[in-house]
């Protein structure tokens, strides 16, 4: 039961984007299409799980004064691995995510989980925490991307789903659309939470 809790808390109760408002930059920047959102979600989840494992393994060897630089080096290494592997095997995805792959390093979610969770817990629960947070992040990304892609292009995952007569509201995939979408989603999320309690 406890393990299940570690896994699911990241998805709704402590959702990194809607509840904690962490890691906003990549969320808004790459959510122009569902394809990008899945790629980014997968990359960030991999880095989260990897850095959580390594950090919880070596947490006892790191003097607490240099822990932040040490975490950053570990996270940056995983990010570089993702960057290189993605460029080699998924070149077009790598191109459309562009700058935001190296910027996973400064994604507050990852350093935040390293500091708040992996540095205090066992490897097993750190892995679960990483998976849960990764899924929460990816899901939020996919939700935002779905809304923006459908309104902005009339497509979902690259397939036309609205009738061709629909005039796409291009604004939704431009920067302002990202801000509006996340603002409205957060308001709905707040309302839903308020109603539940």
């Amino acid at each position: 039961m406890k393990a299940f809790g570690e896994l699911t808390k990241g998805i709704i109760k402590e959702n990194p984007i809607f509840v904690m408002a962490l890691g906003l930059c990549p969320t808004l920047a790459v959510s122009t299409s569902v394809n990008n959102a899945i790629g980014m979600g997968a990359a960030a989840t991999f880095v989260l799980i990897g850095s959580n494992i390594v950090i919880s393994l070596i947490k006892n060897f790191i003097p607490s004064k240099v822990r932040i630089p040490a975490y950053i080096v570990i996270i940056a290494s995983f990010v570089t691995v993702v960057d290189m592997v993605m460029e080699a095997y998924a070149a077009s995805l790598h191109k459309s995510l562009g700058l935001f792959i190296p910027l996973i390093v400064v994604n507050c979610i990852i350093l935040g989980r390293a500091e708040a969770f992996a540095s205090k817990n066992s490897v097993g629960s750190s892995i679960l925490d990483g998976i849960g947070m990764g899924i929460g992040f990816s899901l939020a990304l996919i939700v935002i991307a779905t809304i923006r892609e459908i309104i902005g292009t009339g497509k979902f995952y690259g397939m036309q789903i609205l009738p061709c007569s629909y005039q796409p509201a291009i604004c939704a995939i431009l920067p302002p659309g990202a801000f509006f979408t996340i603002g409205i989603l957060m308001a709905l999320f707040n309302k839903w939470v308020a109603k539940k309690s």
Binding site: A70, A76, S77, V81, V85, Y89, A91, K95, I170
Partner: protein
């Protein structure tokens, strides 16, 4: 003092291990990345000059200071019997929000066979439409003299809401095309 040494040592070890791991992965992936890029270029060249079977690189040597710099000018497209069927070249210009790169295929009489936008990060839904085949078709059978955007008095119809992108593609092709035509006629 002892503490400082220990902290430095721990950081150093972590960084060293990380660098070694990355170096190994870099060596594994770098050739794949380079090969992918090459394949992609080759594919783009084939798509704008489908008659060609293989391509031959034509470079220009320039002496800048003490270094000799080789720049690729264009590719000769040759068919299976090594007969010349046309040329391909690559051109680029800054559009609305990104550098737009286009691959162009021309026949031996200097008419455009096809073009393909190979790299762009323009506005989705507007400028990004320059990568569609409908836009590329507008350039078919054009000669360097009559490539011009409609707003500048030519007959390349601009993409709705993206005149700047259209102009970038059109002008980049025109400039390079004229340059290459002159070089080829000189020969």
């Amino acid at each position: 003092m002892n503490d400082v040494v220990k902290m430095g040592l721990v950081l150093l070890i972590i960084t060293l291990i990380a660098s070694c791991v990355l170096a190994v992965i870099y060596q594994k992936t770098a050739p794949i990345i380079a090969k992918n890029k090459q394949l992609e270029e080759e594919k783009a060249r084939k798509s704008v000059l489908p008659e060609a079977d293989h391509f031959q690189e034509i470079t220009e040597q320039k002496i800048i200071g003490q270094d000799t710099v080789h720049t690729i000018l264009y590719y000769k497209g040759l068919d299976k019997h090594n007969r010349l069927v046309g040329y391909t070249f690559r051109c680029e210009k800054y559009g609305y929000s990104s550098n737009v790169q286009t691959m162009v295929g021309i026949d031996t009489l200097f008419n455009i066979i096809a073009i393909k936008v190979i790299s762009q990060q323009e506005t989705p839904g507007l400028g990004a439409n320059c990568a569609t085949s409908e836009f590329a078709e507008k350039f078919q059978h054009k000669t360097p003299e009559n490539i011009m955007v409609d707003k500048d008095g030519g007959d390349i119809e601009s993409i709705t809401g993206a005149t700047i992108t259209t102009r970038a593609v059109t002008n980049s092709i025109k400039e390079k095309f004229i340059d290459i035509k002159e070089r080829l006629i000189e020969k």
